[in-house]
C-alpha cells in the first residue's frame, strides 16, 4: 500500500512539468488556433537555459530565481517567434502554420547544438531539497513533493488569469471570434503575441522545473511533444483543467507502467488515449470543434485536371529518360534515384490524402515504416521469400491505415493531425520497445531482395515499375469518380453529403489507400537498404514527407513528386554541412511566408501570369 502511494506521488510529481508544457500548448491553440509543434523546443530551451542560469546564480535563491528567469527568457523567445514567423500566416491554412512551426523546431535544434553542444547535461539538484522524506516508510524525493505542491498554484494562477481578469476575458473572446474583438478596438496582434509568449514561458518553466529530476539533451523536444499531444488530446484542446487531469492520468499510469509493464510504457499512453477518444472524440473536457476556421491562401484554386497532350508527352519523355539512364550513369547515381523514387511515392501517397482529401495527416511515416517493417518481419522471422514479403508490405500498411483511420477520420483539422501523429508514435513505440519481435533500435537487418534483383540495375527497374506505377495509379484515382467525391468532401462536406456522398467513408477508404501506397514505398525501401530501423517511423520521417509535399505545392498534383526530387538532392547536399537543420528550417520558414504555393504552384502562377497577359489581350 505504502509503495503504491509512493508511486502515485512520483506520478503526480512528473505530471507537474507535463502539465506546464501541455497547458501552454493548449492556451496557444485556444487563442491562435495554431498547434505549435515547436512547443517541445521551448521546453528544451527551458532546460538548457535553466542549467546555464543555475550554474551562474548561487544558492537556493539562485536556483528558484533561475527557474523564474528561464520562463521569462523563453517567453521572450516565443514572442519573437510569434512576431516573425506566425504573424504573417495567421490566415493561412493549418498545414502552413504547422510546417512553419516545424521549421522553428529545426532552427532551435541547431541553435541549441551550437550554443550548448551535443552532450547530454545532468540537471543540478535543488539546494535544500536533495534528500528524501519517508512517507509510510517509503522514500519520496523532497523535490517531488515540492513540485506536487507547486502545480495547484500554477493551475489556480492560470485559471484566475483566464476567468477573472480583463486579459482573460479578451483571450476567451478572441478564441471565439478574433475579428470581432478587433472591431471592438482591441489590438489582437498584441493579444496573440502575449498569449504565445505566456504559452512558451510555461513550456520553459516546465523544462527548467524538471531539471533536478532529469536534465537537458537535444532529443527532449521530440520526446516531450508526443506526450504533450496525448495529454492535450485526452484532456480536450483548449481546456486547462482537462490538461491537468490528463497530465496526472498519463504520468501516474507511466510510473505504474514502468514497474509492472516495463516492456510497454510507451504504448500504454496511446492505449489510454485511444480508449478516451472512442468514448469522447474531443477529449475529456473538450468541445466539438467548429469547422471552417481557416481560409484559403490567394485566389480560389482552379480545379486540377489531367495533363494535356504536352504534359503527357513531357512525362513520357521523362519516363523514357529514366528507363535509359542506367546506360549512362554510375551505380551511386542509380541508388540516389532509387531513394528519390521511393520518396516520391511516399510523398505522393501523403499528397493524395492531404491535397486531394484535405486531411492533414501528421503520422504518415507509420505506414511507410509499417510497410517496411511488415516485409522485414516476415523475412527475418519466417524466411518468407522476398516476393511475398514485398507484396505483404502495402497490404499490411493498408490494413494499419484502415485501423488508425477508424479513429482519426471522425475528427478533422488539427485534431485529425494530432491524432495521426499520436498513432504514428504508437507504431514507433512498438517498433522501439517490442524488442522480442522488432529488435528495438538494433533494427532488422539482412533483408535483401531475391537474387534476380540483387544487382543495382534490375532493382532500379523494379523500383521504377512499382514506384512510378504507384504514382500513376494515384493520379488515375484522383481523376476518377472516387477522386471527385473525395475532392467534393474536402471542399464542401455538407454539400457533398447532401448529394449522397458518404464523405467519411470515402475519406476512410482514401486514408487506407494512402497508407497502402506508403507501405508499397516502404516495401521497396526496405529491400533497397537491406534493413529497417525505428527511425523510419519517427515524427521526423513524417515531417520529411510533409515538407516535401509542402515545398512542391499542396494544390498541385506534381507537387509531391517534384518536392521529393528537390529534397532528396538538397538533403544530400545540405547534410554535408554541420548546421544543415538551421538552413533547412530557415528555408522552410521563408517558403511558408514568401512562396506559400510551393515550387510547382509558384512556377505555375508565374507561367500563368506571363500567358495571362496575352489571353487578356485576345479577349
Amino acid at each position: 500500500m505504502a509503495f503504491f502511494f509512493a508511486q502515485f506521488l512520483t506520478g503526480l510529481a512528473n505530471a507537474s512539468s507535463l502539465f506546464l508544457v501541455a497547458s501552454g500548448l493548449s492556451l496557444i491553440f485556444g487563442v491562435t488556433r495554431i498547434v505549435n509543434f515547436a512547443h517541445g523546443s521551448f521546453y528544451m530551451l527551458g532546460a538548457f537555459v535553466g542549467i546555464t542560469l543555475m550554474n551562474v546564480l548561487p544558492g537556493t535563491v539562485g536556483f528558484w530565481g533561475a527557474i523564474l528567469l528561464t520562463g521569462l527568457a523563453v517567453g521572450a523567445i516565443g514572442a519573437f517567434v510569434e512576431m516573425v514567423v506566425l504573424r504573417p500566416i495567421y490566415r493561412a491554412p493549418e498545414l502552413f502554420q504547422l510546417v512553419a512551426t516545424f521549421g522553428v523546431i529545426l532552427v532551435i535544434q541547431d541553435l541549441a547544438l551550437m550554443i550548448w553542444g551535443a552532450q547530454d547535461r545532468m540537471g543540478p539538484r535543488a539546494p535544500g531539497l536533495r534528500g528524501v522524506w519517508r512517507i509510510f516508510g517509503e522514500p519520496v524525493p523532497k523535490y517531488d513533493l515540492v513540485m506536487i505542491a507547486i502545480t495547484p498554484f500554477i493551475l489556480f494562477a492560470l485559471w484566475y488569469l483566464i476567468t477573472k481578469t480583463r486579459v482573460g476575458v479578451l483571450v476567451r473572446a478572441a478564441t471565439q471570434d478574433r475579428e470581432m474583438v478587433g472591431a471592438l478596438g482591441v489590438n489582437q496582434a498584441w493579444l496573440f503575441t502575449g498569449v504565445f509568449a505566456l504559452g512558451s514561458a510555461l513550456a520553459g518553466w516546465g523544462g527548467a522545473l524538471q531539471l533536478p529530476k532529469g536534465g537537458a539533451d537535444l532529443l527532449m523536444d521530440f520526446n516531450i511533444i508526443g506526450s504533450v499531444f496525448v495529454v492535450v488530446v485526452i484532456g480536450g484542446m483548449g481546456s486547462l483543467p482537462g490538461a491537468f487531469i490528463a497530465a496526472v492520468l498519463i504520468s501516474v499510469l507511466n510510473v505504474f507502467g514502468v514497474t509492472y509493464l516495463p516492456q510497454s510504457t510507451l504504448v500504454l499512453m496511446f492505449v489510454v488515449m485511444a480508449v478516451v477518444l472512442i468514448i469522447r472524440p474531443y477529449g475529456l473536457l473538450g468541445r466539438e470543434e467548429v469547422a471552417g476556421e481557416h481560409g484559403q491562401v490567394g485566389a480560389p484554386e482552379t480545379p486540377i485536371r489531367p495533363y494535356g497532350r504536352l504534359g503527357q508527352t513531357l512525362v513520357g519523355v521523362l519516363l523514357l529518360a529514366l528507363v535509359a539512364l542506367p546506360l549512362v550513369v554510375d551505380q551511386f547515381m542509380l541508388i540516389l534515384l532509387i531513394d528519390m523514387v521511393v520518396f516520391a511515392l511516399f510523398a505522393a501517397s501523403l499528397h493524395f490524402i492531404l491535397g486531394t482529401g484535405g486531411l492533414v495527416s501528421f503520422g504518415h511515416a507509420a505506414f511507410f515504416g509499417g510497410g517496411a517493417y511488415a516485409a522485414a518481419l516476415l523475412v527475418y522471422h519466417l524466411n518468407t521469400p522476398m516476393e511475398i514479403a514485398f507484396l505483404f508490405a502495402p497490404f499490411a500498411a493498408g490494413l494499419l491505415a484502415l485501423g488508425i483511420g477508424w479513429f482519426c477520420i471522425r475528427l478533422s483539422g488539427v485534431y485529425f493531425a494530432m491524432l495521426t501523429l499520436a498513432f504514428s508514435q504508437l507504431v514507433w513505440s512498438m517498433a522501439y520497445q517490442w524488442r522480442g519481435l522488432t529488435r528495438g533500435d538494433d533494427g532488422l537487418v539482412n533483408i535483401w531482395p531475391s537474387s534476380w534483383l540483387s544487382d543495382t540495375i534490375p532493382f532500379y527497374y523494379f523500383t521504377l515499375a512499382f514506384g512510378i506505377g504507384g504514382i500513376l495509379v494515384l493520379r488515375h484515382i484522383i481523376h476518377a469518380p472516387f477522386g471527385y467525391a473525395l475532392r467534393a468532401g474536402r471542399d464542401s462536406p455538407r454539400q457533398a453529403e447532401a448529394m449522397g456522398i458518404h464523405v467519411k467513408r470515402i475519406q476512410h477508404t482514401a486514408f487506407g489507400l494512402a497508407g497502402l501506397m506508403a507501405g508499397l514505398a516502404g516495401g521497396i525501401f526496405v529491400f533497397s537498404k537491406g534493413s529497417v530501423f525505428p527511425t523510419e517511423l519517427e515524427i521526423g520521417a513524417s515531417f520529411d514527407a510533409l515538407i516535401v509535399v509542402f515545398l512542391g505545392g499542396v494544390k498541385t498534383l506534381a507537387g509531391g513528386v517534384v518536392g521529393a526530387g528537390f529534397l532528396t538532392v538538397i538533403e544530400d547536399w545540405l547534410t554535408r554541412l554541420e548546421y544543415w537543420r538551421l538552413l533547412l528550417g530557415l528555408v522552410i520558414i521563408a517558403v511558408v511566408i514568401i512562396a506559400p504555393e510551393g515550387i510547382v504552384g509558384t512556377l505555375r502562377s508565374r507561367w500563368a501570369k506571363l500567358r495571362g497577359h496575352n489571353e487578356e489581350v485576345v479577349k
Binding site: R166, R172, A173, Q176, E179, M180, A183, L184, G185, A189
Partner: protein, 233 residues
Amino acid sequence: MLSVEGIHSYYGKAHILNDLSFRIGRGEVVALLGRNGAGKSTTLKSVMQLVRPRSGRVVFQDSDLVGAPAFRVAKSGIGYVPEDRRIFTDLTVMENLEVGRQPRRDGAPVWTVEQLFEIFPNLAERRGNRGKHMSGGEQQMLTIARTLMGNPLLLLLDEPSEGIAPVIVEQMAQTILKLKAEGLTVVISEQNLHFARVVADRAIIIEGGEKKFDGSFAELEAHPEIRDAYLSV
C-alpha cells in the same frame, strides 16, 4: 464627420461596391437602404476596414482610414454592430460588455454598464448568463450594448431589425431614437423601410454597389418610382 469617397470593394474577384460616395454629418441618423446583396453590409464593413476598399478614401474626422487595422478604426471612435450579432456565446453578458469597454472619448456620449442596463433592462436581469443562453432579441440588445461600451462617436448598425420579433423591433426603434437624443451619429443598414423611416433623418439607397438615391424620406415618398425600382421585392 464621415466622408466615403469613391470606394471600390471586392470579395475575391467579385466587385461589390462600385465608386460609392456619401457623407454623414454629426448627429445625423442615416439609413442605408437596398435589397439583399445590394452592398449595404459591405459598405459598413468597408468603413470598418473589415473589408479593405481597393481604391477610394474613407475619411473620418480628417483622417483616411483605408488600410488601417479594424482595431484602430474602432479606437478612432467608430462603433460597429455586425448583422449576425457575433456576441461571444461562451462569455457572460458582463464579460461581453467588458470586451467592448474602451476609455471615454471627448465629444462622445459616455456609457456605463448601469446606464446600458437602464436602456436594455433585459440584459440587467441576465448579467451572469452566457451569451448562448439568450434569445435572438436579447443577443441583438447585447451586441449594441457591447459596442456602446466603447463610447463611440459614430455607430454603424447592420440590419438591427432583422430576425427579431415585431415587439422587439419597436423597442429597438425607441432605443435608436434614444441614442440619437444622446447626440450619437448613427448609420443603419436596413431593408425595412418602415423601420428606417421611424428612426432615420435621411435615406441612401444602394443597388448593385452603386448609390441610386440620397435624400430625405419626404423626397423619397415624392418619387415612388425610386422605391419601386430599388426597394420593392
